[in-house]
Symmetry: C2
Subunit: 380 residues, 2 copies
């Protein structure tokens, strides 16, 4: 029998929490970073490579998978875990964010959103109920409610309208999820409310009244400064139950992760480590390094000899520079791997520090290392 979905906190340090989520496909150590597998793959990396970076959960994109290969097809093939050969937990978003950002032609109504597929031009309808159905067909461990996500800045009445619509969609999502509930599978609600703390608290309270297995904060990292984002995170987590996991969607930079964990966030996803890796940027304990820079052309040192991951210590900066300049696939693969390994090492470092009661020290030491910057160039 599958254990029920659960979240337990084993240590706290200030607002930061160390914990564990139990899903049908395994446990997730929190704070957790989820690599993004948009089209059923973390771009360029085998599932084994992703696991070896330390990831124990992936994010899949409902929008992309519903259009290609299609949710019913994935279900017939045994579900997303089997399809992409990833046996560990998967969280999927609801598709709403990509409908808003990728579909030129769309119509938003109370019922849901209708949009034109960017692949074949077909008109597709996505409702709260269909989003739940799709995620069930994919077999995702953690489903997300459909919501409306606005960019910032936005007008307060527009933010409130979208927040209220998202709440109603959240209720419908929960009802739809309950009709097909399977032991251990979870549904998260999504707090909206833009950069308005009052609306965020109102959204959080209403979602908690409806009752979800976890709570996400959506509609951040959509154009606002970091301090605004962090203020909203802090105000929102204060309004969320301690016993449930909190997920900050689409965030972020390594510093965003430190800052948000300090404010009580347990889960993250972001394309930054893989997207920027494909474009020649490495995230390291020295900060972000642009491998296209000519300073690396003759540098035989690895990116970070102290890294536990071979991708960061088995290849020279000169080689990674060469691959980047030559636009070689292996450069994209290696830097994506380096970056995911760094993100996972950062999360593991935070988890250990919280358990040891020295989270602030860990953050300060990590930032100090970033601020010292990269290794000095080799003598000419």
């Amino acid at each position: 029998m599958t254990a029920p979905f659960s979240f337990s906190v084993s240590a706290t340090d200030g607002a930061a929490r160390r914990g564990e989520i139990v899903t049908p496909h395994g446990k997730v150590a929190t704070p957790a970073f989820m690599p993004v597998g948009t089209q059923g793959t973390v771009k360029g990396l085998t599932p084994d490579t992703v696991r070896e970076t330390g990831a124990d959960i992936l994010l899949g994109n409902t929008y992309h998978l519903m259009l290609r290969p299609g949710a019913e097809r994935v279900a017939a093939l045994g579900g997303l875990h089997s399809f992409m050969n990833w046996p560990l937990p998967i969280l999927t978003d609801s598709g709403g964010f990509q409908v808003m950002s990728l579909s030129a032609l769309r119509r938003l109504e109370e019922k849901g959103v209708t949009f034109r597929s960017h692949l074949d031009g077909a008109m597709v309808e996505l409702t709260p109920e269909r989003a739940i159905e799709i995620q069930a067909l994919l077999g995702t461990d953690i489903s997300m409610q459909l919501d409306e996500c606005l960019g910032l800045p936005a007008k307060r009445d527009e933010i409130e309208r979208a927040m209220q619509l998202s709440l109603r969609w959240g209720e419908r999502s929960k009802r739809a999820f309950e009709t097909r509930a399977r032991a251990g599978y979870a549904l998260f609600g999504i707090v909206q409310g833009g950069d308005d703390a009052g609306l965020r608290r109102q959204s959080a309270k209403a979602l908690v009244d409806t009752g979800f297995d976890g709570y996400a904060i959506g509609g951040l990292a959509v154009g606002e400064p970091q301090d605004v984002m962090l203020r909203i995170v802090e105000e929102t987590t204060a309004a969320l139950p301690k016993a449930s996991p909190r997920y900050l969607m689409g965030v972020g930079t390594p510093d965003d992760l430190l800052q948000a964990v300090a404010r009580g966030i347990d889960m993250f996803d972001c394309v930054l480590p893989t997207r920027n890796g494909r474009h020649g940027t490495a995230f390291t304990r020295y900060g972000a390094i642009n491998l296209a820079n000519a300073r690396h052309a003759n540098d035989n040192r690895p990116l970070d000899e102290q890294s536990a991951h071979p991708a960061a210590h088995s290849y020279s900066r000169a080689y990674l520079h060469h691959l980047t300049k030559a636009n070689e696939l292996l450069g994209q693969v290696l830097l994506s791997t380096v970056n995911l390994a760094y993100y996972q090492a950062l999360m593991a470092g935070m988890r250990d520090a919280i358990a040891a009661g020295r989270f602030d020290d860990f953050c300060a030491a990590t930032r100090a290392q970033w601020q010292k910057g990269d290794l000095p160039p080799l003598a000419a």
Copy 2:
């Protein structure tokens, strides 16, 4: 002390030979297939992945590496093996073939060839002596002489002129190689002569008189039908010493490999498994399979459940079809891996069959399996 370069034949079956080459960076079991690492990388694959397909030697392209990152730079960084994190043997071509095929502006003279770099437009000179110097700077285990490679069809007097020039360049290459000879490192001559058996024999005899560690057959698979190629291979290998390795450059399809080994060839290189893999074609014991074909969209079977390599049995055809249609990097990575693993398994199968004295049976069984074609489609 490094052992001298050596080649030994441990078994023969008809004209087919099983043997072993000893180089400073390890042994190569022959008949051998060398994956192509054009720009210091087998596109998209880590060195570990390439090794896990069974490869024990790689080919690097002098033309690409001399232009970027530059031979002197690679030497200063410790040589090509260290640069690309590949500790096993490397053979490099001389650059001549790519000068002819990739450089629009070039001037061919007795001294060498001058061409415009396709990267930055700089004029670059490549002579037999410089080609040897570059390969020594790269630290390649097996260097190739500079030659002039014509496409086919070509006029006999043009073929003869290029063949004679290549012979003179071969002598100069050998003299240059001897001035910097290091124990265990080898230089191969290249037989030219187009589709003219008499010119091929003349070229082979002259090269043998000069004396090389091994002999390549160049200027084939450049537009001629397979039967012409195989006739020239057969005539040429008959004129080459039994005690030296024979390398058929730039070949070929799986059937080309069977046919050429049957005629006494010991070494091959070709971009086919990796290039075609990047474009959605898998080479398997069922023959070539186009993963873009819609017949695979709902097919949960692996490409080849009997393959020893996880890339061929851990992912469904439906998933590989999805990755191919979505133009995902992982599709390129997995199919390149599948294809290199298939090529290496084919070589291993030939080696075992030669040792067991059943090479013809192996070829017949392999071809029969190809001709049966792919698995029948699943019932709808």
